[in-house]
C-alpha cells in the first residue's frame, strides 16, 4: 500500500482551487492505471412497469468493459430504483466500517414518484424521471470507479445478473436516516479528548475542511436554486412583454413604427428563449452536481465516524484490559487460586483484543486517509467545473446590465 505524501492536497477554503500536490496525483493515477479502469456504465430507456400505486420505473443498465472479471465485453440488465438502494445498503454495510467512502445513491422522492405512478404525462414528471436517470448513472459510475468497491461481488451481480432479488429495508436509507448517520461524525470527533499523535491533527483538520466545504456547497446550491426560479420567471415575463409590444405594434397607426415594434417583439421573444434554454440547462446541471457532492461530503464524514468507532472500540478494550488486571491483582491479594486462573485467561483474551483493535484502527485510519486523498482529487475536478460555471456567470452578468440599459 502506497504511503500518502506528507503534505496532502487540501479541501480547505483557502486552497481549494490549487492543483493537488503532483506527487499524490501521480500516485493515484498510477494506481488507477494498475487497476486498468476500463468500464463504462450508461443508464437509458426509463420505462414504466405496471399501473397505479404499484407501478415503478425500470431503467436499462448497460455496461461496456474490457475487465476480465466480467462475463462479457458488453451486457445489459434492467433495474429499478430500489435495486440501486439495495446495492448501496450492501456496500455500506460491508465497506463502511472499514473506512471506505461509499458513494451515496440519489434521494428518494415520494412526490416525484407519485406523479409518475399516477400517470401524469406532464413535463415535470418527465423532468423528474430524467433527473433520476442521470443521477443513477452518475452514482453507478462512481461506484465502479472505486478500485476496492469494483471488486465486490455484489457490484458484479448488480451489473450482470438478469434477475435480482427484491431489495427490502430500503426505508432506512431515506434522507433522514442518512443525515442522522453523518451527523454522528462531528459528535464523535468532539468527544475525542486525547490527541494521540500528529496524524490525528491531520484528520481533525480534514474534517473541518469537509464541514466548511459542505457549508459553502449548501449555500451555493440554495442560491443556484433561487437563480433557476428567477430565470424561469424572467423568461415568462419577457414572453408577456413581447406579446404586449406586438399588440401595441398592431394598434400603431404609423406603418413604419408599427413594423418596427412588431419586429422588436419577435426579437425579444427569440433572444429570451435562447437564453432561457441555455442558462437554465447550465444552472440546472450544476445544481444537480452540487447536490451529488453535498451527499458525497456526507459520506466522507461517515468514514471519519467509522474511524472514531474503531478508535472507541480500541479504547474500550484497553479500559476492559485494565479492569481485568485490577481484578487479577485483587484476586492475588485475596488468594483465590481457581478464580485467579480465570482472571489470567481473561487478561490474555483482552490483550489479544487490544492488539487486534489497535491494528484495526490503524488499518481503518490508513484507509480513511487514502480515501480522503482520493476524494480530494475528485473535488479538484469538480472545482474545475465550478470555474467553468463562474466564467459563464461572468458572461451572463455582463449581458444583463446592457439589456437593462438599452431595452
Amino acid at each position: 500500500m502506497t504511503k500518502p505524501a506528507a503534505s496532502a492536497p487540501s479541501l480547505s477554503v483557502a486552497a481549494s482551487l490549487s492543483k493537488p500536490q503532483s506527487a499524490t496525483l501521480e500516485e493515484l493515477e498510477e494506481e488507477e492505471q494498475e487497476d486498468k479502469f476500463d468500464i463504462n456504465i450508461s443508464i437509458t430507456n426509463p420505462e414504466k412497469i405496471g399501473d397505479g400505486m404499484n407501478a415503478y420505473m425500470a431503467y436499462k443498465v448497460s455496461t461496456q468493459t474490457t475487465l476480465p472479471m466480467f462475463r462479457s465485453k458488453a451486457f445489459t440488465v434492467r433495474r429499478r430504483f430500489s435495486d440501486f438502494l439495495g446495492l448501496y445498503e450492501k456496500l455500506s454495510e460491508k465497506h463502511g466500517p472499514n473506512g471506505y467512502i461509499v458513494p451515496p445513491p440519489p434521494e428518494k422522492s415520494i412526490l416525484g414518484m407519485t406523479k409518475v405512478k399516477v400517470g401524469k404525462e406532464d413535463p415535470s414528471s418527465a423532468e423528474f424521471v430524467e433527473r433520476r436517470r442521470a443521477a443513477l448513472e452518475r452514482y453507478l459510475q462512481r461506484v465502479v470507479c472505486h478500485p476496492s468497491l469494483l471488486q465486490d461481488p455484489d457490484v458484479r451481480e448488480f451489473l450482470e445478473r438478469d434477475e435480482l432479488p427484491r431489495a427490502v429495508n430500503t426505508q432506512a436509507l431515506s434522507g433522514a436516516g442518512f443525515l442522522k448517520m453523518i451527523n454522528k461524525a462531528t459528535d464523535a470527533v468532539s468527544k475525542m479528548t486525547i490527541k494521540m499523535n500528529e496524524s490525528d491533527v491531520w484528520f481533525e483538520e480534514k474534517l473541518q475542511e469537509v464541514e466548511s466545504a459542505d457549508q459553502q456547497f449548501r449555500k451555493i446550491h440554495g442560491l443556484v436554486d433561487s437563480l433557476v426560479g428567477h430565470r424561469k420567471e424572467l423568461s415568462l415575463n419577457t414572453a408577456g412583454f413581447a406579446k404586449s409590444v406586438a399588440m401595441l405594434g398592431s394598434s400603431e397607426d404609423n406603418t413604419a413604427l408599427s413594423r418596427a415594434l412588431s419586429q422588436l417583439a419577435e426579437v425579444e421573444d427569440k433572444m429570451e428563449q435562447l437564453h432561457q434554454e441555455q442558462a437554465s440547462n447550465d444552472s440546472f446541471c450544476f445544481a444537480e452536481l452540487l447536490a451529488d457532492y453535498i451527499r458525497l461530503l456526507g459520506a466522507v464524514r461517515g468514514s471519519f465516524d467509522q474511524r472514531m468507532k474503531a478508535w472507541q472500540r480500541w479504547q474500550d478494550a484497553q479500559s476492559m484490559l485494565q479492569k481485568k488486571r485490577e481484578t487479577e491483582a485483587k484476586l492475588l491479594w485475596a488468594n483465590k487460586p481457581d478464580k485467579l486462573q480465570l482472571a489470567k485467561d481473561e487478561i490474555t483474551e483482552w490483550e489479544a483484543k487490544v492488539t487486534q483493535y489497535e491494528r484495526d484502527f490503524d488499518r481503518v485510519s490508513a484507509t480513511v486517509r487514502k480515501e480522503v486523498l482520493r476524494f480530494e482529487v475528485l473535488i479538484y475536478f469538480f472545482f474545475k467545473t465550478l470555474v467553468a460555471f463562474t466564467l459563464l456567470i461572468k458572461y451572463w452578468e455582463a449581458f444583463l446590465p446592457e439589456a437593462k440599459a438599452i431595452a
Partner: protein, 382 residues
C-alpha cells in the same frame, strides 16, 4: 446627495422627447439637485432673451410639489382647454431602493464582506438611477412648456421660473386639493356619458378610437416592461450572491469573477412607454374637454329651443349658445393642431429610441462573442 449631471449624460439618457430646449429665447435646465431623505430639491436654471423676465439668467430652488402646482394651474386654466397639457412629472420614488437597503442592513451578518459590498454598490447605483430619472422627468416637463408657443407665455409658468422665494404660499392648500380630487371623480363619470355623444368630425372620431385603444395597449406594455425589469433585478442579485460565494472558494486570482455592478438603468423602452402613456392620457384629457364643450353646446341648443317655445329668455339663450359654439370651435381647432403635432412627436421619439437600442444590442452582442471566446480559450488551456 448631490448630482451634477453633465451634458453628454443627459443627452444619452433623454430619449423620450426630442427637439426640446432648442429655442435660445428661453432655455431651461436642471443642472443640480439635492436629495434630503424624502424630499428632492431641484435647481431650476433659466437663460432667456425675453423681456418678460427681469434678468437674462437666474436659478431658483423648487420642490416636486411646486411642479405639481404649476401643472394643475395650467390644467385648470380655461384658455388652455384646447391644448395638450404636458403630463405632470411623477413623484420621486425611492421606496424600492430604500427597502432593499433596509433588508441588506438586516442581512449583513449572513453575508461575506465581499457580497455585502457588492450588494451595497448595486443599491447605490439603483439610488443614483432613480435620482437621475426623476431629475430628467422634471426637466422635460419644463422644457415641454418652454417649447410650446402658448404655454411658454403663461404667467404662472414665469412666476415658477423666476420667483425667488418659497412658492408654498401659492400652492394648493388642503381644501383646494380636495376640490381637485373631487373634480377628477366627476370627470370619470362624465367620461362615460361623453363617450356616448355622437362625434361630428371624422378626424376627432378617428383620434378618439385610436387614442383609447392605444392607451390601453401602451398601459399594458408599460406594466409588462416593469415586471420584466423586476425579474432582471432578481436574477442580477442572484448572480452577485453566487459569484461572491464562489469567490470565497477560489484561492487562485485568475479565476476570481469580477463583481459587475449591474448599473440599474431601467429599461429605456420602459421609460419611453411610461412617458407616452402619460402623454396619451393628457391627449385623452383634451378630447374629453372638447367632448364636454360639444355636450355643452348641444345642451345650449336644446335650451335655446325650449326658450323659443316658451318665448322666455331667448336672447340669453342665444348668447349662451353662441358662446358654447365658439368655445367648441376654438377647442376643435387647437385640438386638431395639438393632436397632429403630438402624433409626429411620438413617432420621432420612438424611432430615435429604437435605433439607439438596436445599436447597443449589436455592440453588446459583439462584446459577448469576445467574452465567450475568452472563456473557451481559458478552459482549453487548462
Amino acid at each position: 446627495m448631490t448630482s451634477a449631471l453633465d451634458e453628454s449624460d443627459k443627452e444619452k439618457t433623454r430619449s423620450v422627447s426630442v427637439d426640446l430646449n432648442n429655442d435660445a429665447s428661453l432655455l431651461i435646465d436642471i443642472p443640480d439637485a439635492l436629495c434630503e431623505r424624502d424630499k428632492v430639491k431641484f435647481t431650476v436654471h433659466t437663460k432667456t432673451t425675453l423681456s418678460a423676465f427681469q434678468k437674462p439668467e437666474f436659478s431658483v430652488p423648487r420642490q416636486h410639489e411646486d411642479f405639481i402646482w404649476l401643472h394643475d394651474t395650467l390644467v385648470e386654466t380655461e384658455d388652455y382647454a384646447g391644448l395638450i397639457i404636458p403630463p405632470a412629472p411623477p413623484k420621486p420614488d425611492f421606496e424600492s431602493p430604500r427597502e432593499k437597503m433596509h433588508k441588506l442592513g438586516e442581512g449583513e451578518a449572513t453575508m461575506t464582506k465581499e457580497e455585502y459590498n457588492k450588494m451595497k454598490q448595486e443599491l447605490e447605483a439603483e439610488y443614483l438611477a432613480v435620482f437621475k430619472k426623476t431629475v430628467q422627468v422634471h426637466e422635460i416637463f419644463l422644457q415641454r412648456l418652454s417649447s410650446h408657443a402658448i404655454l411658454s407665455k403663461d404667467r404662472n409658468f414665469q412666476i415658477f421660473l423666476e420667483y425667488d422665494q418659497d412658492l408654498s404660499v401659492r400652492r394648493k392648500n388642503a381644501k383646494e386639493m380636495f376640490g381637485g380630487f373631487f373634480k377628477n371623480m366627476v370627470k370619470t363619470a362624465d367620461e362615460v356619458i361623453i363617450s356616448g355623444i355622437k362625434e361630428v368630425d371624422d378626424f376627432f372620431e378617428q383620434e378618439k378610437t385610436f387614442l383609447l385603444d392605444y392607451y390601453s395597449k401602451i398601459k399594458d406594455s408599460t406594466a409588462k416592461a416593469e415586471k420584466m425589469t423586476r425579474s432582471h433585478k432578481n436574477v442580477a442579485d442572484d448572480y452577485i450572491h453566487i459569484s461572491a460565494t464562489l469567490n470565497t472558494l477560489s484561492a487562485d486570482d485568475s479565476t476570481k469573477v469580477e463583481g459587475r455592478v449591474a448599473s440599474d438603468q431601467e429599461l429605456k423602452l420602459t421609460e419611453l412607454l411610461r412617458y407616452y402613456m402619460r402623454d396619451i392620457q393628457a391627449a385623452k384629457d383634451l378630447l374629453y374637454r372638447r367632448a364636454r364643450a360639444l355636450a355643452d353646446y348641444e345642451h345650449s341648443n336644446k335650451a335655446l329651443d325650449k326658450a323659443r317655445l316658451k318665448s322666455k329668455d331667448v336672447p340669453q339663450a342665444e348668447e349662451h349658445q353662441q358662446q358654447c359654439l365658439q368655445k367648441f370651435d376654438k377647442l376643435s381647432e387647437s385640438g386638431k393642431r395639438e393632436l397632429t403635432s403630438f402624433k409626429g412627436r411620438r413617432v420621432v421619439a420612438f424611432r430615435k429610441n429604437l435605433i439607439e437600442m438596436a445599436e447597443l444590442e449589436i455592440k453588446h452582442a459583439k462584446n459577448n462573442v469576445t467574452l465567450l471566446q475568452g472563456c473557451i480559450d481559458l478552459l482549453k488551456s487548462n
